[in-house]
C-alpha cells in the first residue's frame, strides 16, 4: 500500500485543498443527477395521486406504518453513525473510524431487514402487482398503481442502500490497510454524502407512502 501522503495529491491538482474541493463538488453534481432520477418518480407519483387521491389513501392505509416509522428512525441513526465516522476521520482516529463505519453498516443492514420483512408481509397479503395482487374494491386498479410506485421507489432506494453498504465495506477495508489519515480522508467524506443523501430520500418516501393513509388504518 502506498504511503497515504503520497496518495494525497494527484498530479493534476495544485494542492490538497483544491483536490478535495474538486472531488466534493463532483460528488454533489452526481447527487444532483440522483435527485433527478428520484425526482421523476416523485413527480409521476404526485400526478397519479392528484388523479386518484382516494385510491392512493386506501393504498397508503395498507402500509405497515410502524415498520416504516421505525425504519425512518433507524436510518437517521445510521446517518448519525456515518457523521461520527467522518468526524473521526477528520481527527485522524483510525480505530474510531473503523468502529463507526461498522456501526453504520450494521444499522443499514437492520433497515434492509425491516424493509424486506415488510415486502414479505405485502406478499402474504397479496399486494405485489404482477405477482399476486388481489383487491376487490372498486378502486382496485389505482390501489395496484400505488403499490407499483411503492415497490419501484422503495426498491430503487433499497438498491442504493446495498450500493452504500458495498462502498462502506470498501472504506472499512481501506481504513484497515491504513489509506486514510487526518490529512487525507476524502473518500470517507464523499461516501458520507452519498449515505446521507439516501437517508434523505427515505425521509420523503416515508412521507408520501406511509403518512397520508396512516389515520385510516
Amino acid at each position: 500500500m502506498a504511503d497515504p501522503l503520497e496518495l494525497a495529491v494527484r498530479e493534476q491538482f495544485h494542492d490538497p485543498a483544491q483536490q478535495r474541493e474538486t472531488s466534493t463538488v463532483a460528488m454533489w453534481v452526481f447527487l444532483i443527477t440522483e435527485v433527478m432520477l428520484f425526482g421523476v418518480l416523485f413527480t409521476t407519483f404526485t400526478v397519479y395521486r392528484i388523479g386518484h387521491p382516494a385510491a392512493f389513501d386506501q393504498g397508503s392505509a395498507q402500509m405497515e406504518f410502524w415498520m416504516g416509522a421505525v425504519n425512518t428512525a433507524v436510518l437517521i441513526c445510521s446517518s448519525f453513525a456515518m457523521a461520527l465516522a467522518v468526524n473521526s476521520a477528520e481527527r485522524g482516529k483510525r480505530l474510531r473510524l473503523a468502529v463507526y463505519l461498522l456501526l453504520t453498516i450494521g444499522i443499514g443492514l437492520v433497515f434492509l431487514g425491516i424493509k424486506f420483512t415488510e415486502y414479505y408481509l405485502h406478499y402474504q397479503d397479496h399486494k405485489v402487482p404482477g405477482l399476486n395482487f388481489q383487491d376487490s374494491t372498486p378502486d382496485a386498479r389505482f390501489i395496484e398503481m400505488f403499490f407499483v410506485f411503492y415497490f419501484i421507489m422503495t426498491g430503487l432506494h433499497a438498491i442504493h442502500m446495498l450500493v452504500g453498504i458495498g462502498l462502506l465495506s470498501a472504506l472499512l477495508l481501506r481504513t484497515y490497510l491504513g489509506s486514510f489519515n487526518g490529512e487525507y480522508h476524502t473518500p470517507v467524506e464523499l461516501t458520507g454524502l452519498y449515505w446521507h443523501f439516501v437517508d434523505m430520500v427515505w425521509v420523503f418516501l416515508f412521507a408520501i407512502f406511509y403518512i397520508p393513509g396512516a389515520h385510516m388504518r
Binding site: V25, V29, T43, N87, H196
Partner: protein, 96 residues
C-alpha cells in the same frame, strides 16, 4: 487545510432533532393533522440532513450553488408538470 470539522455536539443535536421530527410527523399522520404541517416538518428534516450531516451549510460557495441549482431544476420539473395536470379542466373546451 481549510476544512471545517463539525463538532460531535452539533451532530448529536441534529440527530436528536431529526428523531423528534420523525416522531412528530408519525403522530401528525396518525391524527391527520393536515398536509401543510407535514410538508413543513419533512422539508425541515431534509434541510437539516443536507445542511449539517452533508456539510452544505459549511461548504464552499460552489457546493452551495450546485445544491441550489439541483433544487431549482427539480422545482422546474415538478412545477411545469403540475402546471399542466392541476389546471386541466379549468377552461371549457368545445367537444370535451
Amino acid at each position: 487545510m481549510s476544512q471545517v470539522t463539525v463538532s460531535v455536539r452539533t451532530y448529536a443535536f441534529t440527530w436528536a432533532t431529526l428523531l423528534a421530527l420523525t416522531l412528530l410527523t408519525s403522530v401528525m399522520g396518525l391524527l391527520d393533522l393536515g398536509t401543510f404541517n407535514m410538508v413543513a416538518a419533512v422539508l425541515i428534516k431534509a434541510s437539516l440532513i443536507a445542511a449539517i450531516f452533508m456539510h452544505a451549510f459549511f461548504g464552499a460557495k460552489l457546493v452551495r450553488i450546485v445544491v441550489a441549482s439541483g433544487v431549482m431544476w427539480f422545482l422546474i420539473l415538478i412545477g411545469l408538470t403540475l402546471a399542466d395536470y392541476l389546471t386541466r379542466g379549468l377552461l371549457p373546451f368545445p367537444g370535451k
